[in-house]
Subunit: 200 residues, 2 copies
DNA sequence: TTGGGTCGATTGACTGGTCAATCAACGAAG
DNA sequence: CTTCGTTGATTGACCAGTCAATCGACCCAA
């Protein structure tokens, strides 16, 4: 077997894990499934990762840090809160479009698995909610949003709605088509933001 | 040992399972944990249920059928869609207030566990989304809601937002107090419905 | 009234299979 | 000949589900 640079094998394993986790779910996949999918010996997984959990950890952290960065970027560069929230939604929807399997794993096995895996990452997850809440709070301060909705509620409703829609596509509850896709995102952002506007 | 009517022991086991599932999560609880919590022998669990899965099944179906009934009741007796959606939200929030442990189990182990347990109940879960979507569609037909939002999107956003808020309380992401509670529900319904109103 | 027979409820030790993690050995490269 | 990536058989723990045995309520016949 060619002795590829270590980093490549590691990546190979991570990418294989994405596919297998997405297909079977974390609990139902054996470490040997990951190794087989990567075309690598069982033991090698343990050479690069200390446990099966750590593989998922790595995948989550890798992706979630991008989301956190994207939210802060949106906050920094956007003009009004509506535009900022739109950018956040766009990043999440695009993440799904770009790598649906990875997003499925993140959402199903971490973000929504608050009792098992999510527990470990509650802090990072909360950080995302809080960054979004900050966008809402600023919008309230500037008068763009009404002030009687707690920013954290608005944030979690916003994120929860997005995740629910993605879940709908992931599990076929909503039929998927590209047109639906961007349209749905715009409608979601529009609806929520309209709802957050000051009452006339 | 007093020979209580069979139904009571069965109930005892179900109630114990709620507590243990809520505390440790479904995967992490052994059948012996349920039996211990119920103060009953290991084997008795298998006398009343064919498997550990069936215990969770029973809990889910028991509760979800109430939700389905409540949504249809809200649709039948409500005047305008805003009131109907308010009634749906009230039922869900009240379910949580009345039995937080059961709701935690339903949400965490079934509704959001779309890869493991939710898979079995996808159909029942979807039925709830569709009933809510019908309320939205009727609202659009009557002119109370704007027509450019697909009812199913609105429904899933609405439900996703509610579930995310409940998850926030369940896992302490949002600090809980009774005042917050009813207020949050009203704000959620108001915000979403305002967002769904026709643009002026 | 008593003895014994039936049947469902109840018990918990045990089994079989699964799988995460270990580890001793191999081989390529320098 | 040392280092380190790589291999895969083996181990040890864990746990769902089984099953043979016991218990207690109730009935009926002597």
């Amino acid at each position: 077997m060619a002795q590829a640079p270590p980093a490549e094998k590691r990546r190979l394993i991570l990418d294989a894990a994405i596919r297998v986790f997405a297909r079977q779910g974390f609990h139902a996949t054996r470490v040997s499934d990951i190794a087989d999918e990567a075309g690598v010996a069982y033991g090698l997984v343990y050479h690069y990762f200390s446990s099966k959990d750590e593989v998922l950890n790595e995948l989550f952290i890798e992706r979630w840090s991008l989301l956190l960065a994207a939210i802060e970027e949106a906050d920094r560069t956007g003009d009004d809160p509506r535009e900022k929230l739109g950018a956040v939604a766009r990043f999440i929807f695009d993440s799904y479009r770009h790598d649906p399997e990875l997003m499925k794993v993140i959402i199903v096995e971490v973000t929504r698995a608050a009792n098992s895996f999510g527990k470990t990452h509650l802090e990072e997850i909360r950080r995302a909610y809080e960054s979004i809440a900050k966008i809402v709070a600023d919008g309230q301060a500037s008068g763009a949003f009404r002030g009687d909705v707690a920013p954290m509620f608005a944030s979690m409703s916003f994120y929860g709605a997005i995740e629910q829609l993605l879940s709908g596509w992931i599990f076929g509850t909503i039929p998927a088509s590209d047109t639906d896709f961007d349209e749905a995102r715009d409608l979601l952002v529009t609806t929520i933001c309209d709802g957050l506007e000051p009452r006339g």
